[in-house]
């Protein structure tokens, strides 16, 4: 699919190819194998096509795309509209029937538990409308009453987008940390270094178990780690795009402890990686990779760090090179 213009830059060429593929696909004339080959030929191809497809799908979101189309003389399209659904809606609106009758009453609300398997992510909507993106191999429980909202992150990581409710503050418990919010968005990650909080919207107050006062308060763009012994790191800035890349199946680290990186990698693989020497766990790593590229990353680590891989039946052990 070459463009007519021979002088275009590679980036423009990729953009032009993406347009032609989209037009061919929706016209029903695309060579599917050819498209697959083009898509897999380069990440830049896949990215360019995804962006265009996304915008194409998003077109109905536009208010400005409100043009009048002259009526057709004869229709040649078949349309199916679920008339029964439509009728049932009218009934509900007209009679004011309840929608979610299965929702349980307030007091004695059972604790809701959510968990993900290795390599799987999950989107959760809580009873108050808050949403949680639960990372791989993670588990949390929610206990909401009329007076308070409590969530416990048992292990793994989760990105919370909490619905504002001044009358019902929300607390996330993770390890020895308690995080107090009204309406805000933030990520909590629990790993070898402790509990890490990264705030993307609003404010979060940080408490440490048994301490009478809040230990810190973070705003958007700020990050802190609460260690197991109750000590806190300085508040630092973080790149949201990198931090939340896991939601797109990528893991991104800047100067991170290898122990933390390995803990995350293990959330995507059946045979765990173990750290066989404390000197290995504290090595600092900067890396970005797809979660399923763990084997390549292991090979890269062995090549660039003072470590060697020992493969056993139960997984991989990282040992220090002597």
């Amino acid at each position: 699919m070459a463009d007519e213009d021979q002088t275009v830059s590679p980036r423009h060429q990729i953009a032009a190819d993406a347009r032609r593929w989209l037009m061919a696909i929706y016209a029903g004339t695309a060579d599917q194998a050819g498209f697959r080959a083009w898509l897999s030929a380069s990440p830049a191809h896949a990215r360019a096509y995804r962006q265009l497809e996304q915008a194409w799908r998003d077109l109905p979101l536009s208010e400005a795309l409100d043009v009048e189309i002259r009526p057709k003389a004869v229709s040649r399209l078949r349309w199916l509209v679920p008339a029964a659904l439509a009728a049932s809606l009218l009934l509900c609106l007209g009679l004011g029937l309840a929608w979610k009758v299965s929702v349980a009453g307030n007091e004695g609300v059972p604790v809701l538990a959510y968990a993900t398997e290795i390599g799987k992510l999950r989107a959760v909507t809580l009873p108050d409308g808050s949403t949680v993106a639960l990372g791989a191999d993670s588990a949390m429980a929610a206990n909401f009453s009329s007076a308070a909202r409590a969530i416990t992150l048992d292990h793994g990581r989760a990105y919370f987008d909490i619905a504002h409710d001044a009358s019902r503050p929300l607390t996330v418990m993770a390890g020895n940390a308690s995080l107090h919010v009204l309406g805000t968005a933030f990520e909590v990650w629990k790993g070898p270094s402790g509990v890490r909080l990264s705030v993307t919207r609003g404010r979060v107050a940080v408490g440490v178990k048994d301490a009478p006062a809040y230990a810190a308060s973070l705003g958007a763009g700020e990050q802190i780690i609460i260690h197991e012994d109750g000590s806190l790191t300085r508040i630092t800035a973080f790149a949201e795009k990198d931090l939340l890349a896991w939601r797109q199946g990528r893991l991104v680290y800047r100067d991170a402890a290898l122990a933390d990186v390995v803990a995350d990698m293990n959330r995507y693989r059946a045979l765990p990686i173990k750290i066989g020497d404390p000197r290995v766990g504290v090595l600092r790593v900067t890396a970005a990779f797809r979660a399923d590229q763990d084997e390549q990353i292991l090979a890269g680590l062995a090549a660039s760090q003072p470590i060697r891989l020992e493969r056993t039946q139960d997984g991989v052990i990282l040992r220090a090179k002597n």
Binding site: A15, A16, R19, L22, M23, I25, A27, G28, F35, R36, L39, S40, A46, R47, A48, R50, Q51, Q54, A55, R57, D58, L59, P60, L61, S62, E63, A64, L65, V67, I69, P71, S75, L77, W79, L80, V81, P82, L85, A86, L89, L93, G96, A98, W99, K100, V101, V103, G105, V109, A123, T125, G129, T131, S146, A163, H164, D165, A166, G183, R290
Partner: protein, 200 residues
Amino acid sequence: MRVGMALVEESDSEQARPDVVALPSHAKTAAPSAVLEQLYRAHWRDICRRLRRIYGNGPPEPEDLAQAAFEKFAQLEDHERILHPRAFLIRIATNLGLNAIDRIRTARRFVERELVEACEPVVEENTPEDVYSIRERMAIVEKAMSRLTDKQKEILVRSRFRGETYAQIGEETGWSQADISRQLNAALAVLQQAMASGEE
């Protein structure tokens, strides 16, 4: 009752947040229908008007599509948190219409599968991720639309919303298929530019 407030622009200020979440939770079963009724009153006529501009008198009949869209919207788990219900309703309605066309339905599924394989999935519609990122994406298409000619907009509407082929568009408008293809290509280029500047 101010439940309709839940649907206006997001804000950090306390009063802009809905009463819905402050209701005692035994009332929660009834709250969603109240929200919907509010939504229905606020948007029904406007949604029907917009659909009528796209589809004329049908088929599909704009009112039927709108009904089905409200029904589907009501089933979304987090519909109370959707800040731009109109955009969702229009998108649901037009997608329902397109689902009746085999060529489009097949193309959409094919693309979704291939992009997942390529690790570049499109945002799945009506998921929390979709709700979360929609404002940013609305801004991108809005920016692109402001740079299109009326002819390009009509071709976009005919092909993206009505699922018409170039031959069908040509028959109705008198434009040549080569011209339609060129115009659509140019409109897509404008979309790409808007996305590129939006993501940087």
